[in-house]
């Protein structure tokens, strides 16, 4: 990314999380980034009211948002053909990092997942990633949302590869590489058990 500074002035954020203390912290983090309008709601019904009342630019939604779940709520937004905010950027926030959870968030049409507890750097980097990395939307019989097979051309700080990760040292070549026949034989042996 050539420029990872984001300008949040004038944007309206909606935080949907039943934990009001968490929402307050999240709100203060966004304001630290320069956001000027942040709305907090505590369940999906309040979230729908806020979405229809205000011009929300980005939704931060808890995975366990009552009464059903953040994924269910996200899916309901994405699947409603009449919904004017159907393509709204949505970040799912969860403390459950199991692959099934991440896959669920992706499949319901979320743009990205933020792991709780949220740190300022992780939130900033995900917002920057959404801002600077355009993704096509897919409308199919079974899915509506950002393309799930997107290519990451260099991670922003904190997404996937961590900022503190060291580059790997690759040793000098000490012998000839395997020929295709060698590789085929290895795979054949592995397949045959």
């Amino acid at each position: 990314m050539s420029n990872d500074n984001i300008n949040l002035r004038g944007l309206t954020f909606l935080i949907a999380d039943q934990n009001s203390y968490f929402s307050s912290i999240c709100n203060s983090i966004l304001r630290g980034f320069g956001a000027t309008k942040v709305i907090e709601v505590h369940d999906a019904n309040e979230a729908i009211k806020a979405l229809t009342t205000y011009k929300i630019d980005l939704l931060l939604c808890d995975a366990k948002l009552p009464p059903t779940s953040g994924m269910h709520f996200t899916r309901s937004i994405r699947w409603d053909k009449e919904c004017e905010f159907r393509t709204l950027p949505i970040l799912i926030m969860t403390s459950d990092t199991r692959s099934t959870m991440i896959a669920n968030a992706r499949d319901c049409g979320a743009n990205m997942v933020v792991v709780k507890p949220v740190s300022p750097s992780s939130l900033y980097d995900r917002l920057a990633w959404i801002a600077f990395n355009a993704r096509m939307f897919v409308d199919s019989a079974k899915y509506f949302g950002p393309n799930r097979r997107f290519k990451i051309e260099g991670y922003p700080n904190g997404v996937g590869r961590r900022k503190g990760d060291n580059t790997a040292d690759i040793g000098e070549v000490t012998g000839p590489a395997l020929s295709q026949d060698d590789i085929d034989n290895l795979l054949k042996t592995a397949r045959n058990g």
């Binding site: 984001i6 300008n7 002035r9 630290g32 011009k55 507890p117």
Partner: protein, 176 residues
């Protein structure tokens, strides 16, 4: 771009207002934004211990005594799960990383109980004791890796056979 049919996916480009606005020049430099955000988070810290004590007390009150009849019922789990979730979501941001770790473990235990795992008093009690320990000032700032024996012990508990569902959904459908 072509319009989709029932069987064909349609792809289209979306440049949302968020994306357009966020890319405008004149944004705050990242380091400054993080500094401001961290200062805002720090402003919560003086009052956090009171919030933490309240949530912990609510959690402890929600969990029945393992000897009591209520312990084997499901009614108390939702409330206890909400309190643990709140602790897990917030404590690490406020420098109580170990509280978040233990509370997150508890959430997974409650989830297992909801799925039909055995109500094991020892497992819950050892997590409650770990939370009482983690709440103390001297454990503030400690991460699970700073307390390897305790953390590994709690992780092992999560894999205990007693937390596995007694009968899985496939077995139930076969029984029907």
């Amino acid at each position: 771009m072509s319009h989709g049919t029932l069987n064909k996916a349609r792809e289209f480009f979306v440049d949302s207002r968020f994306q357009k606005m966020a890319r405008r020049p004149g944004g705050m430099p990242r380091e400054q934004a993080l500094k401001n955000a961290n200062e805002n988070v720090d402003a919560f810290k003086p009052e956090f211990t009171a919030w933490l004590d309240d949530r912990l007390n609510e959690l402890f009150d929600a969990i029945p005594n393992p000897e009591a009849v209520e312990f084997d019922k499901l009614e108390w789990i939702d409330a206890a799960d909400i309190h643990s979730q709140q602790l897990a979501d917030v404590a690490a941001t406020m420098d109580y990383q170990f509280v978040s770790f233990v509370a997150n473990n508890l959430c997974m235990i409650f989830e297992a109980l909801k799925r039909g795992a055995e109500h094991n008093g020892t497992i819950i009690t050892c997590h409650v004791d770990a939370l009482r320990l983690a709440r103390q000032q001297q454990y503030r700032g400690m991460r699970p890796e700073d307390l390897p024996e305790l953390s590994d012990g709690l992780r092992r508990v999560l894999n205990s056979p007693s937390l596995q569902p007694k009968v899985d959904d496939n077995d139930r459908s076969r029984e029907r």
